[in-house]
């Protein structure tokens, strides 16, 4: 249904115009600037490139960026599944409002999220002060960075799992129950396997989004080199030192990783759509 046979001749007009405009727009906005980025990084020779992207400070920033993004995506995986489950299966007051609120991190500007989270988790913040009494600092540490990334990635897992869970046929569960499976077995053997592709897609989306995140992290991280400096921030400080080639080299590495992640996500989505009723 979805994909027409390609042997069918396109009788609809406007392919040239729409395709031409799309290509022009994409080239001007994406292809040209991103090639400028990659080419700029070539101004460095190989040794120089490696020196920038494998410097101690850069490696510390990768560890923080990827480590905290991974943990944040994991937290979102668990709680995203839980939230999607609760929203689909249970009824409770204000459900529609809560459902709508899940998209807040998409709609709320990252800078606003950043200062709000800092106000909550700073040592004198609403929640931070209680942890500070026990000697735990949240804001200005990797924990704070992770919390900001949890916020940013929160909707992804919920929104990829929710439709799949809604379409899941209850008959399967009834059949499993009638065959003597208990609730845990049904969840592990019937429901969970059906959700795996969408869970992985949501995880990868949250992870990809977290890696590039800047606005919310910059406020809560404290931006100390080697300790709480994420890679996008390191690029920013290279820029402020007018080290364009160095910034471009780091940017190229990040760009490559983002692009690979996107390809992976597309493959996952393709898999998930095939598993989930051949189309739609």
């Amino acid at each position: 249904m979805l994909f027409k046979k390609s042997s069918q001749k396109p009788v609809l007009p406007g392919f040239g115009l729409s395709m031409g405009f799309t290509t022009f727009y994409l080239s001007l906005l994406v292809f040209l600037p991103l090639s400028a980025l990659v080419l700029k990084s070539f101004e460095l020779d190989w040794a120089g490139f490696v020196k920038v992207v494998a410097s101690e400070r850069a490696i510390a920033s990768y560890q923080l960026t990827f480590g905290s993004s991974f943990i944040a995506a994991l937290i979102n995986l668990v709680f995203g599944l839980l939230v999607a489950w609760v929203l689909v299966r249970y009824s409770f007051p204000f459900k529609k409002i809560i459902d709508a609120l899940v998209d807040l991190p998409f709609a709320l500007p990252t800078a606003v999220a950043g200062i709000a989270l800092t106000a909550i988790y700073a040592p004198n913040g609403w929640i931070g002060q209680y942890f500070y009494q026990w000697g735990i600092k949240i804001a200005y540490t990797p924990i704070g960075v992770t919390l900001a990334l949890v916020f940013i990635g929160l909707p992804f897992v919920v929104r990829t799992v929710q439709p799949v869970l809604e379409d899941l046929e209850q008959e399967l569960e009834e059949a499993a129950a009638s065959l003597g499976a208990n609730r845990l077995q049904i969840f592990c053997r019937v429901i969970f396997p059906a959700l795996i592709p969408s869970l992985l897609t949501g995880f990868a989306l949250a992870f990809a989004r977290a890696i590039g995140e800047y606005g919310s992290v910059v406020f809560i991280s404290g931006n100390m080199p080697f300790r709480t400096e994420i890679t996008p921030l390191l690029i920013m400080s290279r820029l402020e030192e007018f080290d364009y080639a160095g910034a471009a080299a780091l940017g190229t590495v990040m760009l490559l990783i983002s692009f690979l992640l996107l390809l992976l996500i597309n493959a996952l989505q393709h898999w998930s759509q095939q598993r989930h009723g051949g189309g739609r």
Binding site: L34, A107, Y214, Y244, I265
Partner: protein, 292 residues
């Protein structure tokens, strides 16, 4: 075999015991309250922490007013540009088959995955003083970086996938039968597009526009690279918030933030009502189809 009890009580078989439901619900709602509700409450709470006068002063002072104006201008240019792009791209991708189609979709998604800082940096390398076109622009007295055009470009870059992403699956789902019928009946290409295609994707289009607008007004990373943050010249609302925050004017920073938070809430309300209307239209269309 003891199949009896399970078969006759399907409700019990496909739900959890009450205690487990209560626990799951508590954890889920607690998580959402901590991560979604609390930040919102904080924004408004801190914004009014020094009273109404401080709030009103913070959002009406000239620098804030200018930032609001600039944010509106950037969104007013970026959103229509991206709407046109979204329509063109989705028409090409959804209605035709061609080589590299999947790759094109991946390219369109790129700004969502690429760090906004990298987006800003890339634009700088093209339009900046030492960039590819920097000299030419300078010779012709055109300032792109550290000026409004750069902010608009960065905003367009970050937000262009949103309309296209909503439209592509919608147009694919609609197929091409309706358009082909209209063409057979003698409508021109544009007539077909405006009378047949546009109405059938209107909810997806509006939905995309709203998301695109929310992102455009809130963009921070890319804009902060290209703007130079000159007060009353190249400061958008998110940048203004950062400056206020770094100057320890917390109440003022949260006051301006509360405007953006209101925008986010409005976006969510509009989005939900669009989803509701789209679902209603779909149900009506199905109801019309069924009796025949």
């Amino acid at each position: 075999m003891s199949a009896g009890s399970g078969q006759f009580q399907p409700r019990r078989a496909t739900t959890e015991p009450l205690w487990l439901r209560a626990i799951l619900l508590t954890f889920a709602l607690g998580f959402l309250a901590l991560f979604l509700l609390l930040p919102l409450v904080i924004v408004f709470g801190e914004a009014f922490s020094k009273g109404w006068q401080v709030y009103v002063a913070a959002v009406t002072e000239p620098a804030a007013a200018h930032a609001i104006k600039l944010t509106l201008i950037a969104a007013a240019i970026a959103v229509p540009c991206n709407a046109i792009f979204g329509l063109a791209a989705s028409w090409a991708i959804a209605k035709f088959q061609f080589r590299g189609r999947q790759f094109l979709i991946t390219l369109i998604d790129l700004p969502i995955a690429v760090s906004p800082v990298i987006a800003g940096l890339s634009l700088m390398l093209i339009f900046g003083a030492r960039g590819w076109w920097g000299e030419w622009l300078n010779d012709h007295d055109l300032q792109v970086m550290f000026a409004v055009p750069g902010i608009v470009l960065a905003t367009i870059f970050i937000t262009f996938p949103y309309v296209a992403r909503e439209l592509i699956p919608m147009m694919q789902q609609q197929g091409r039968e309706a358009e082909e019928a209209a063409l057979t009946l003698g409508a021109s290409g544009w007539q077909t597009f405006i009378r047949v295609t546009l109405p059938s994707v209107k909810w997806a289009l509006l939905y995309g526009l709203i998301l695109c607008n929310a992102r455009a007004m809130g963009e921070f990373g890319a804009v902060s690279v290209v703007s130079g943050k000159i007060r009353e010249q190249t400061n958008t609302m998110p940048l203004h918030i950062e400056i206020l925050y770094n100057e320890y004017q917390f109440a003022a920073a949260f006051a301006v933030s509360s405007l953006l938070a209101l925008l986010a809430l409005l976006t969510l309300v509009l989005k939900s009502s669009l989803e509701w209307r789209a679902a209603r239209d779909l149900a009506e269309a199905e109801a019309c189809r069924r009796p025949e």
